[in-house]
């Protein structure tokens, strides 16, 4: 097999996810169950690479641990890492396994805002500081007031609940989850078409720079994409993402 001798532990595939791993990407913070979009993709890729489900080992890692120099404790890391040029200089990414549109979520008090960039400019914006939502925000919306940036989605939600921000930008699945479950009275105003920026936000599996496994992983993902399996997994776990209006 193409993975022989290239994994951290022979015969095993070590996959890292976040701590915690977020809904709707991973269900119940339990990737071992295979429930959720990312575990489903992971197990599909693993089986394409010739690993039994029992041979997949899950570990946890923070963003910082994922990008630290030196040896890594995983073969690849899946936690909605956007592929960017800058990041690619330090670590390796697989080919994308998901293209995420960006969505705008607004608080109850801004629910009636017109879905146009001009109207959105006047709102107070928030976002998660470690995501590519930040450059998108500054590139597309160019808000009048400096946006507030937070450590994770829970903090953004809390700030919205406290009335400190009017709007926030997330990838669409996360935004759907937050507006439906977490932030009372909030609303999904719309999504940006994926081609709105030059580099559409695409999630890749993160690997140590020069990881020999890369080709093997890419091969597996490409195969899944061609066979339509990937689209099937997406439809199973992220089906609600269709039907959200576009913003222009």
């Amino acid at each position: 097999h193409c993975a022989d001798g290239k994994t951290l532990t022979d015969g095993k595939l070590t996959i890292a996810t976040g701590n915690p791993a977020y809904y709707p990407w991973v269900m119940d913070n339990a990737p071992e169950s295979g429930n959720g979009f990312e575990p489903a993709v992971a197990y599909a890729v693993a089986s394409k690479m010739g690993f039994e489900a029992a041979d997949v080992i899950w570990v946890r890692s923070s963003f910082d641990e994922a990008i630290q120099p030196g040896p890594k404790s995983f073969d690849f890391n899946m936690q909605q890492f956007s592929i960017t040029e800058a990041r690619e200089k330090v670590v390796d990414f697989s080919v994308p396994y998901y293209s995420a549109p960006m969505a705008v979520m607004v608080a109850a008090n801004a629910a009636e805002t017109e879905a146009s960039v001009e109207a959105l400019r006047d709102l107070i914006w928030g976002g998660v500081g470690t995501t590519t939502a930040v450059p998108m925000l500054t590139a597309i919306i160019q808000p009048n007031k400096d946006p507030m940036l937070y450590a994770d989605t829970a903090d953004v939600a809390a700030a919205m609940q406290a009335g400190q921000i009017d709007a926030a930008m997330f990838d669409l699945p996360t935004a759907l989850y937050l507006s439906a479950v977490v932030v009372e009275g909030s609303k999904l105003l719309g999504q940006f078409p994926a081609d709105r920026t030059e580099n559409p936000d695409q999630f890749g599996m993160l690997m140590e720079e020069g990881n020999p496994l890369k080709a093997c992983v890419n091969e597996a993902i490409n195969a899944l994409a061609e066979s339509g399996e990937l689209a099937g997994i997406e439809a199973e776990w992220l089906q609600e993402t269709t039907g959200v209006p576009l913003i222009d």
């Binding site: 641990e65 030196g70 406290a162």
Partner: protein, 277 residues
């Protein structure tokens, strides 16, 4: 006049008892009122229900608390091995900065440099640089543990603070004490050890307590480089449940440790002061 033997109490004793009663009464009523004000008024705020649900959520608390306690053991462990190292290193640096002999001048310079750098750089950065940087140089598995290098980062940073406090204590001891010890023929080392340091240390205990309580809380920063201690655990639960109650749980655990620790240190200090006056 003389003691009133029937009542068995002097005028002063009667007065002091009255005062004590009155102040207890004031303390009691004012506490009750303040408490009532908070308990009655806060829930009237329009957002109270939401705040309660996201900060003081019973279910979340019950579910997460035992796991937070587990995670706290890691904090305790790290604290237990860092604290003595910090004290020792801090003391050494303080002594280096106090060296009298001009021949050992470089030591003073080194001490000043050390405290400047490690107090100046935020702990988080030291943790990143040492915790990721040094293992990144290519150390093999057991020696690149984030526990080792993260702890080292804490030790380096905190010993700089602790050294500064020791030094202020040393300088607060009056020069005449050094004269007296030296005139007895004690060496500089003995003078420091038996005369200056005991007085200096006694004086800085409250500040050092502050430092160690701060350390206990900064142990949480090690979570940046991997170890899942109580703070990271609370953060994980917060992210997962989009609820801040786990932080309240963590705060309670911290309070349960730090408050008795401070109280005890204060008590020791008061006892010492009383003994000597």
């Amino acid at each position: 006049m003389k003691k009133d033997d029937a009542a068995g109490k002097t005028r002063r004793q009667i007065y002091e008892e009255k005062l004590r009663r009155r102040s207890l009464l004031i303390a009691g009523t004012s506490t009750v009122f303040a408490f009532l004000a908070v308990v009655v008024l806060v829930p009237l705020a329009p957002g109270w229900e939401k705040v309660k649900a996201s900060f003081f959520n019973r279910e979340v608390f019950v579910e997460t608390f035992p796991k937070l306690l587990d995670a706290f053991l890691i904090d305790v462990m790290i604290f237990v091995w860092c604290a003595p190292a910090i004290t020792a290193l801090g003391l050494l640096i303080a002594l280096a900065r106090d060296v009298q002999s001009p021949a050992l001048f470089p030591l003073r310079i080194f001490g000043a440099f050390y405290t400047d750098i490690f107090r100046g750089v935020p702990v988080v950065l030291t943790v990143y640089l040492i915790g990721f940087g040094i293992p990144g140089l290519g150390l093999p598995r057991p020696f690149n543990s984030p526990y080792i290098w993260g702890s080292l980062a804490l030790i380096l940073t905190y010993s700089a603070y602790v050294a500064e406090i020791f030094r202020s204590g040393i300088e607060a001891v009056h020069k005449s004490q050094r004269s007296a010890a030296q005139s007895l023929g004690l060496t500089d080392g003995d003078t420091m050890r038996f005369v200056i340091l005991p007085q200096a240390i006694r004086q800085v205990i409250p500040s050092q307590m502050n430092m160690f309580i701060a350390l206990q809380k900064d142990v949480a920063l090690l979570s940046f480089i991997g170890p899942v201690e109580i703070f990271r655990q609370a953060g994980v639960f917060k992210s997962l449940m989009a609820n801040f109650t786990p932080y309240v749980g963590a705060a309670l655990i911290f309070l349960a440790v730090t408050v008795p620790a401070t109280r005890y240190a204060d008590y020791l200090l008061a006892k010492q002061n009383k003994e000597r006056s």
